[in-house]
């Protein structure tokens, strides 16, 4: 009896394996379609769950390199609470499209807006990469990674990207972010906050003031126009104040961050071809 049961089971399994394989073959396009629905054209999931991630669907960098770089990303996240991402894709579609993508789409996928991303586009005739930081006012990424700083990181990455050293470029990207997050608020990069500039400015102003005081020492004026004015015999005889016209001047407000649209918060961007 037992033998009969075992034989029946074997037959069933023998039948199910080819049936399963056939089913798999039939359903495989459906599964594949389901995958493409979860990611965008650049291979980035519609909802990013990880705090740091490298999206490299075409394995441009090796898995060991990816592991090392990701370790750096996670270290940044742990130290500064800034999520770091990298996207390497052949589906870039031009710089303008990436701009819009980063500005209006990518931030919606993020678990936290306190984030920075680099997109490296490897189209056949158009190699392009773009750094973008997000974050609302007061958040680390917005404060520390402004356009100027992203430009600086971008300049350092460019050489490696041109020579195809993508892993080294991403390492430089991580190091650059780590360096600037460590430096603190980017607004202190302004010339007026530079120690040498402040010292020079103070030195010049103080020198002028002290020299004027030194040369005018002993020559204090102690009269004013009111000293000799006879108030009782002085008056305004006639007067008018006539409005003539109004001028309007418009000055663009200089800002290191611009609106990211939707709920994207402030963002800074820096991009270049290589």
């Amino acid at each position: 009896m037992m033998n009969m049961l075992l034989k029946a089971r074997k037959r069933l399994l023998a039948m199910m394996i080819p049936m399963g394989m056939a089913l798999g073959l039939i359903l495989s396009p459906v599964i594949a379609h389901a995958d493409s629905d979860d990611t965008d054209v650049y291979g980035v999931p519609n909802k990013i769950t990880e705090s740091s991630e490298i999206f490299d669907p075409d394995d441009v960098i090796s898995s060991s390199e990816e592991k090392t770089i990701l370790k750096k990303f996670k270290a940044i996240d742990e130290e500064y609470d800034v999520n770091v991402y990298a996207v390497i894709t052949y589906e870039i579609g031009g710089s303008g499209r990436v701009d819009d993508y980063l500005e209006y789409d990518f931030y919606k996928k993020l678990p936290d807006l306190n984030a920075v991303v680099v997109v490296i586009g490897l189209e056949e005739d158009n190699h392009w990469f773009q750094l973008h930081s997000y974050g609302n006012d007061g958040e680390t990424s917005a404060e520390c990674l402004d356009t100027d700083r992203l430009n600086s990181i971008q300049d350092k990455m460019k050489g490696y990207l041109s020579s195809g050293e993508y892993a080294q470029a991403l390492t430089t990207y991580a190091d650059g972010i780590s360096y600037y997050l460590g430096k603190g608020d980017a607004s202190f990069d302004s010339l007026f906050f530079k120690a040498w500039f402040q010292f020079l400015l103070v030195l010049v102003i103080v020198s002028i003031v002290i020299c004027i005081k030194a040369f005018s020492s002993g020559q204090k004026v102690t009269t004013t126009p009111a000293t000799y004015l006879d108030q009782r015999q002085s008056r305004v005889l006639r007067h008018f104040d006539r409005y003539t016209h109004t001028t309007v001047t418009r000055t663009k407000i200089e800002s290191s961050s611009s609106s990211g649209g939707g709920g994207g918060g402030g963002s800074s961007s820096s991009g270049s071809s290589f």
Partner: protein, 352 residues
């Protein structure tokens, strides 16, 4: 003609005493009130002496004779009071204080020589940018009490002025800061009166130094009387009131600008664009104002400092120590720099 005031007690030469405001005999301390009729001091006049006063060939220097010792007093043309260089007797050259050259008023010295000297030394000690050996061991070559000639004017100023004034408001429109500036054309016609504007009438005394002596307290001003000059140097004016007035006019025009500006209220900016003023003197008085002149030599260079003999205000151009200037620059620079960096750190920025 010279005047010397003799003590009725001991016959000594009396001098004006700044502390009491009386004529005082330095020998017996006898004091005399300076009020013509009540004054019992014996007034000696030079025509009693055999030698006549002489004018030199150029007319620049005039010789008088001291009534005490008979020595020749050689004076400059404008000197009206001096002391005999031989016996130290105070002499007033009264013939130069007559007619048009007679001062209308005088502000007598209020600060005696000793106090003036101490005040000058104290002032020197407070000079921040001068060499320390100058500040602490100033060697005064000569201190001279001088009645300086001034013209004092009452000036009426009339005129019109136009000004351009603005009021600005700013607000934000999207990415733009919009500033709206309203422009106004302002007109004022004014009638002003300035009382007691002084200007020195001496060629020897620097105008800017004398201007800095101001203000003088006119409540202490008294009608001129020769005894106030005894014991001090005094000069007659080199320039008459008509010659000096243009300088005063210029000052009054600036004062009128200020009067116009004070009458324009409620604007962010006011710029006087056009003015048409006229300033006339309604009265001018010839006055003598008390000044202590301190002549100092430091490292071979001469410096002169003037002290208002009434208010005590001291002016002059002291020597500058570049070491002291550099020290102050370094101190203030480091102080402010450290403060800025602390503020920077408190704002979340880096220390350096």
């Amino acid at each position: 003609m010279t005047l010397q005031f003799k003590c009725p007690n001991c016959g000594g030469d009396m001098q004006f005493d700044a502390t009491s405001g009386y004529l005082k005999c330095p020998h017996c301390d006898h004091s005399e009130k300076i009020e013509g009729a009540e004054m019992s001091a014996e007034i000696h006049v030079s025509p009693d002496f055999p030698h006549q006063d002489q004018v030199d060939e150029t007319g620049a220097l005039v010789r008088y004779q001291c009534q005490n010792c008979g020595a020749m007093l050689v004076t400059e043309r404008n000197t009206t009071a001096t002391t005999c260089s031989y016996c130290g007797a105070p002499v007033v050259l009264s013939d130069r204080l007559e007619g048009t050259t007679k001062p209308d008023y005088v502000i007598p010295f209020k600060i005696p020589k000793e106090n003036a000297d101490q005040a000058f030394r104290d002032w020197c000690k407070k000079l921040r940018y001068s060499p320390s050996d100058f500040k602490n061991m100033v060697k005064v070559k000569k201190v001279e009490g001088l009645y300086a000639p001034f013209w004092v004017y009452n000036v009426s100023g009339q005129g019109e002025a136009r000004a351009h004034a603005t009021i600005s408001h700013s607000h934000t429109e999207g990415d733009y800061e919009v500033t709206e500036t309203a422009h106004y054309d302002i007109y004022r016609s004014v009638d002003t009166f300035y009382r007691g504007v002084p200007a020195d009438a001496s060629e020897r005394l620097a105008d800017n130094l004398m201007d800095l002596m101001e203000p003088f307290d006119y409540t202490q001003m008294v009608p001129f009387n020769a005894p106030y000059l005894t014991g001090y140097m005094a000069e007659n004016f080199d320039y008459n009131d008509t010659q000096v007035f243009p300088r005063v006019q210029k000052r009054v025009y600036n004062y009128m600008d200020d009067f116009v500006r004070d009458s324009i209220h409620g604007y962010d900016t006011v710029t006087i664009t056009d003015r048409d003023y006229i300033a006339n003197r309604s009265q001018s008085s010839y006055c003598l104002f008390p000044i202590w002149m301190n002549y100092v030599t430091y490292k071979g260079k001469d410096y002169s400092f003037a002290q208002n003999g009434e208010t005590g205000k001291i002016v002059g151009k002291p020597p500058i120590s570049w070491g002291a200037v550099a020290g102050y620059i370094a101190g203030w620079t480091f102080g402010i720099f450290i403060l800025l960096r602390i503020i920077c750190v408190l704002m979340g920025g880096p220390l350096l």
